[in-house]
Symmetry: C2
Subunit: 114 residues, 2 copies
């Protein structure tokens, strides 16, 4: 059983949804993986500041939620690829809405402050 970051599911599916995408790095990871299948260290390089531990952690949770798929290639050197599942792809409109809102309403504020 995976740990609940928020409260008990059941009454409100929105909370379950937030539980899936809220996580320190998940949304950004999803944007990158949605853009195309990525390898472990490839993601690590894309997210400077993200430790291996957290990268593993976040990927595992996304995998447990059925959002991404983990493919292991038994070869030397080892190779693991992460890709979106069909379920994960359904997140696209939501992530896009998030992106649009960020660009139109949040970005102007950030640049205006400095």
């Amino acid at each position: 059983m995976r740990k609940q970051r928020h409260k008990i599911y059941g009454n409100c599916p929105v909370e379950a949804a937030m539980d899936i995408i809220s996580g320190k790095w998940k949304v950004v990871l999803l944007f990158h993986i949605m853009d195309g299948t990525k390898r472990f260290n490839e993601l690590g390089r894309l997210l400077p500041g993200l430790t291996q531990r957290m990268l593993t952690n976040q990927l595992r949770e996304l995998e447990a939620d059925g959002v991404i798929a983990r493919t292991v290639y038994l070869e030397v050197p080892p190779k693991v690829e992460y890709s979106m599942t069909p379920f994960g792809m359904t997140l696209e409109p939501l992530l896009k809405a998030l992106w649009v809102w960020s660009e139109t309403h949040v970005k102007p504020r950030l640049t205006a402050e400095e």
Copy 2:
């Protein structure tokens, strides 16, 4: 200066956006407040399990981010109302996308599991 739940802003406005709406109770609170102006204890009653401390905390952060407005009525008994700001209203499409995705893709999973 308000604490950063995620990492440093700047490179990716999406992170800033997530920083605004990700919070244990924020999205649910926003749904309720967007539905109509609410009083403090009114929100408390709508969210069983949410302590006064956290309610205050989350409301203050939303206020600091300019998402909601806090109106104090100087009377006895005291009365404080929370409502959406114009900026907060721009969140509507995003919250709606979140709701739609939850209903169509998350809810079926929850009910199927039990």
